[in-house]
Amino acid sequence: MLKEQTFDAPIPGMSMTHELGARPWQSPPKYATVDDTIEYYLERMSSEEFLDQLTDVMEMGVPITSIANTMQLGNVMEGVHSVDVGMLVLPVLVEMMMLVGDSAGIEYDSGLSKEAPMNKKRTRNTLVAKTARKLQIQLNEQDGKEDKPMVDEPIEMEEDMPEEKPKGLMGRRQ
């Protein structure tokens, strides 16, 4: 089996392309302690907008562990907290999201088990959305072809051409 290629890794030496301290994660983090960081996340996660987005993503079948890891990694990059505090905070984020999922009454994939239980039962919503989008594009293309005037094809115009009269001696005359 072919090994999957990933091209999202940084190029060797990429970290040295900027001055030391120019990147947000190279300066002291905004929240240095676990308590401050947990408070920051809880405050952020309690907003209605965030909850709506989170439930949407969870319903799509994205594992909670992946969402939590992406969140903490993004905040490390923005200099909100350090990497080690991010690692410590991860279980709280996962547990918080599971609580959100349970209170919203949605079926989610925690990412802790190897097989997602929701994926066994039904077709993934993302797959349905992808197929619907493809179909929509095809329909749009077809509609576009029907509406578009055919430029490439020669247009045959019927004109009232005067009938040519036979010119020769043997030509029939009406």
């Binding site: 947990i38 890891n69 990412g111």
Partner: protein, 71 residues
């Protein structure tokens, strides 16, 4: 392909019973001058440990989740 996700490892290895443990009653000292605190662990209480505080937060959330499931 399922890549390495530290969230899975962090969550799976968080043993709440071991980290939080049960509250131990301080043993009664024999005499008036007997030390009440262990001098080896002086200045290092459980609450100072970040992992202990994280475990406490997780325990609270998990209990709430269990309440929701039971209801």
């Amino acid at each position: 392909m399922r890549g390495f996700n530290p969230a899975i490892v962090a969550h799976m290895n968080l043993d709440l019973d071991e980290i939080i443990g049960k509250e131990k009653k301080p043993s009664k000292s024999a005499g008036l001058l007997a030390p009440k605190k262990n001098m080896m662990n002086r200045g290092q209480s459980k609450a100072d440990n970040p992992l202990y505080r994280v475990a406490n937060h997780v325990k609270i959330l998990r209990d709430k989740r269990n309440e929701l499931k039971d209801a």
